[in-house]
């Protein structure tokens, strides 16, 4: 359980980091290291150079930018969890973050690292997929921007450009109206890799009628997916409506079998979690109106 030898570089600027990554095709970015270091220890990954970007001030921080909340790549998951801006403007991400690992891994793990790694059970990636966040890279080609559905291909397989550096993820701010979010997952131990997960966001008008509903499923297949529950708009999100919409939306959902759970289990769990996440989102939105 010891990593193979590598060279360690701590660049002083984003430009230096980019140059180091571009210079060697076997180099990897080291940010929080909470996924990469176990992979190195198990020798599933043997990079020649690790480029430590965790201290680059230009890659840290959360700020508003027009209609988006920009989270820079090396921002710690714990910082995002503590952020008032995230809680206020990106409630689904705020609901997902407590499920990301454990306090000691969130203290080091980064938002960008979680997205760049492309694990199908990553909660931040699921929130990004449901909300239609954009993923921004800096590479030889200059700045590149990806939509989640064009970025996550399969387990740890992404569209990340060669030698590219993830700079930030931009989440759309919550829509107007009464907004609620819900996030549910099932794992062998809270905070571990989930077998199935669901994230939902709904918007209600003043009468409690739904004007927008979004749902995404993670952990069951090769990548997080957004599914269509737009038919819920116009209704009041009754339990029956939710069940019917989820059943239809998850029809044909790709689920994988592995030693943790069967595809059948994942499909059934995903449906229940999706119903719970939508109900949680509805209740949160109703509560927001009551205040």
């Amino acid at each position: 359980m010891k990593a193979a030898p590598f060279e360690y570089i701590r660049p002083a600027s984003v430009e230096e980091a980019r140059a180091a990554l571009g210079a060697d095709p076997d180099s990897r970015v080291l940010a929080g290291g909470q996924t990469l270091v176990p992979m190195l220890a198990m020798r599933l990954s043997r990079p020649s150079v690790l480029v430590d970007v965790s201290r680059l001030a230009d890659l840290r921080g959360i700020e508003e930018s027009g209609e988006r909340v920009v989270i820079r790549a090396a921002t710690r998951q714990a910082e995002a969890l503590r952020s008032d801006l995230v809680r206020r403007e990106v409630p689904l991400l705020a609901a997902a973050l407590p499920h990301v690992g454990h306090p000691p891994t969130r203290a080091r793990g980064t938002v960008g690292g979680s997205v760049a790694h492309g694990d199908p059970s990553a909660e931040i990636s699921l929130a990004a997929t449901v909300l239609g966040a954009t993923i921004h890279f800096l590479s030889d080609e200059g700045e590149e921007e990806f939509a989640p559905e064009d970025f996550f291909f399969g387990p740890t397989v992404t569209a990340a450009p060669m030698g590219g550096l993830l700079t930030h993820v931009a989440f759309p701010k919550r829509p107007k109206g009464r907004v609620g979010a819900g996030f549910r997952e099932v794992a062998s131990r809270r905070g571990d890799y989930a077998f199935a997960s669901a994230g939902a966001q709904v918007v209600l008008d003043g009468d409690g009628s739904c004007t927008e509903a979004r749902l995404g499923i993670g952990s069951v297949g090769d990548a997080p997916v957004a599914v269509d529950v737009s038919e819920l708009a116009g209704g009041t999100l009754s339990q029956q409506d939710i069940q019917a919409a989820v059943a239809e939306a998850l029809e044909g959902l790709d689920c994988v079998d592995d030693l943790h759970a069967t595809a059948t289990y994942r499909r059934r769990a995903a449906a229940r979690l999706a119903e719970q996440a939508l109900a949680e989102a509805r209740d949160a939105a109703l509560e927001e109106g009551a205040q």
């Binding site: 010891k2 701590r10 176990p38 454990h102 891994t105 080091r108």
Partner: protein
């Protein structure tokens, strides 16, 4: 690579390969064997230490990353050589340990929690140690130990952190 590690208030210059984890550097370069090596891939929590006040897994950091960071290990929890800190005492009194392998990690996780929150609910305590595996106690007495330590911290007027008192 030459790296300067500031551990429990004392700075040590160590020569390490980039691939040496903070865990191995603490144990083998600094001689601080209190931090335990468990799974060495970030699952068990036995190697938890404080880095700049936050509980982190020392097996998931390389020593070369820790330049200028303030590291506290379980050895730094005691006010004096041969004594025990308040959290450690609480673990002893409530039988919060059996084999003791997970204990340094548990104590550090408890300390990270209590620094921020001296009135934790049982939910807060469980969340704080959710990344630490214990195969002996069944966790009940560990939660009890942290509850007791929290009570004593609230009622005492001594400095929270032994190193702050130094």
């Amino acid at each position: 690579m030459r790296t300067s590690l500031r551990v429990n208030g004392r700075t040590r210059e160590v020569e390490v390969e980039p691939r040496m984890t903070l865990l191995d550097a603490l144990r083998d370069k600094c001689g601080l064997k209190g931090t335990h090596a468990g799974c060495e891939h970030g699952v068990c929590g036995a190697c938890t230490v404080l880095v700049d006040g936050e509980a982190v897994r020392s097996c998931l950091m390389f020593a070369v990353q820790c330049d200028d960071m303030e590291i506290t290990t379980v050895e730094g929890m005691a006010p004096e050589e041969g004594e025990l800190g308040m959290i450690q005492d609480s673990f002893c009194e409530t039988h919060g340990l059996q084999c003791g392998y997970c204990t340094p990690g548990m104590v550090i996780a408890a300390r990270a929690l209590l620094e921020k929150n001296d009135e934790p609910t049982d939910h807060d305590i469980r969340e704080a140690i959710s990344g630490n595996i214990c195969r002996c106690t069944g966790y009940g007495q560990i939660v009890e130990a942290i509850r007791l330590a929290a009570k004593r911290l609230r009622e005492s007027n001594v400095a929270r952190s032994p190193e702050a008192a130094r």
